[in-house]
């Protein structure tokens, strides 16, 4: 035993091949021996720790906190994705009343950023969560022991329950929302309007709002770009047309309505800011619905993982 140890220690006492570097060799030897002692100590400490698990509670606590933060990040980024989708879809539908103009302007001009940033964060959280739970969720069943199988089955069962409830609640919410929203909105009498309102301040194609269903924001006609700054005022049709003009074929060519402003709210709009044709072009459609589908798919896949990460110690 001693001979073995001596021969091992003698390995370090061999003179270096290049005699000019003996001094350097000694320093290197000392450093190597210190390093070896340190590594032996750490191995011993690790063995002791793994045997008695003295520091287990601290490790467990930090691991649980890490996992839960990741799950929270996943759900928050999913909410951010949905919010981004909602904002980009409603940017030209009266959103300016609820949010500051700069934010609306940013959403209108940079919809890709609004959609992709939360989606990328969601993807990052998803892959981290997958990395943490792959031993239970991703491995084939033959590699799992009985506890892991139970944990996985329970997570899938709970996820199924959540998806089932969501599938019931979402259509219910949509129906209720539509019903309540329609009930609260006063239905105007007017049924059609054919006219084009032009002025130095604004251009509004009223034909866009036929048939009228409740209070509607009148959109700016992009075909008639105004010059300079413009003041946009929202109107509501309150009665039948007072005067209508028809051509020889009986087609109405103009009409005068009694209008009044919906709210005394108006704002200055820079000529460069126009509501985008979102989501009308194929790229925008692909981006919009691609983001929606991908975020929903990721959430459905990540649901069992998030349950495992939230409840179990990984």
């Amino acid at each position: 035993m001693m001979n073995e140890q001596e021969s091992r220690s003698n390995e370090y006492l061999r003179p270096p091949l290049w005699h000019g570097k003996i001094a350097f060799g000694k320093v290197a030897l000392r450093l190597t021996l210190q390093k070896r002692e340190a590594s032996q100590k750490s191995v011993k400490r690790f063995r002791q720790a793994s045997l008695f698990e003295l520091d287990e509670p601290f490790e467990q606590k930090s691991a649980v906190i890490r996992c839960r933060l990741l799950v929270l990040g996943l759900y928050l980024s999913f909410l951010a994705c949905l919010t981004g989708l909602w904002l980009t879809a409603n940017v030209s539908a009266g959103l300016e009343h609820k949010l500051p103009f700069r934010i609306v302007n940013f959403i209108a001009t940079q919809p890709v950023v609004v959609l992709l940033v939360p989606l990328l964060i969601l993807l990052g959280c998803y892959f981290l969560l997958r990395l943490m739970t792959y031993e239970i969720i991703a491995w084939p069943e033959r590699f799992l022991d009985e506890r892991q199988q139970i944990v996985r089955d329970r997570a899938h069962r709970n996820a199924y329950k959540i998806v089932k409830v969501a599938c019931l609640l979402v259509p219910l919410y949509l129906c209720l929302h539509a019903a309540l929203w329609t009930a609260q909105t006063p239905v105007p009498v007017a049924t059609h309007a054919y006219t084009l309102v032009r002025s130095s301040k604004f251009s509004i194609d009223v034909a866009q709002i036929t048939p009228l269903q409740g209070v509607q924001a009148i959109h700016i006609n992009p075909a008639l770009p105004p010059t300079g700054e413009q003041r946009i005022i929202l109107y509501e049709v309150v009665s039948q047309p007072i005067i209508e003009s028809f051509n020889a074929n009986g087609v109405p060519i103009s009409a005068i309505y009694s209008w009044h402003t919906i709210a005394p709210h108006s704002y200055e709009q820079a000529p460069t800011v126009m509501a985008p044709s979102w989501p009308n072009d194929p790229t925008s459609l692909l981006l919009y619905y691609g983001t929606l589908l991908l975020s929903l798919l990721l959430m459905a896949i990540a649901l069992p993982m998030s349950i495992v990460a939230w409840k179990e110690r990984l």
Binding site: R47, S50, E56, D145, R147, Q148
Partner: protein
């Protein structure tokens, strides 16, 4: 029906044999985290796993698992010794 708590002596037996959780898990064919769950009493093993554990340690199942909390081994041995001496 409330889940029955099953106490075990896995941690003591493993420490007596100088084994790490990983070694024991490899010997039993389970994940090392499962050993931790068993030792903490957070997971009750199946009958099959309980038999495997008792076979591995070479002890009867009732020595390793119990529905009542175990006394410390030293205390148990000492009281048994005293009882034997008394007899």
């Amino acid at each position: 029906m409330a889940e029955l708590t099953i106490y075990n002596r896995l941690a003591v037996l493993r420490a007596e044999r100088g084994m790490s959780r990983l070694n024991l898990a490899n010997a039993l064919g389970i994940n090392y985290q499962t050993v931790g769950y068993l030792e903490r009493g957070e997971y009750n093993p199946s009958l099959e796993l309980a038999f495997r554990i008792s076979e591995f340690f070479g002890l009867p199942i009732e020595v390793i698992f119990s529905t009542k909390p175990f006394k410390p081994l030293s205390e148990e041995v000492y009281t048994r010794k005293q009882a034997e001496e008394h007899v």
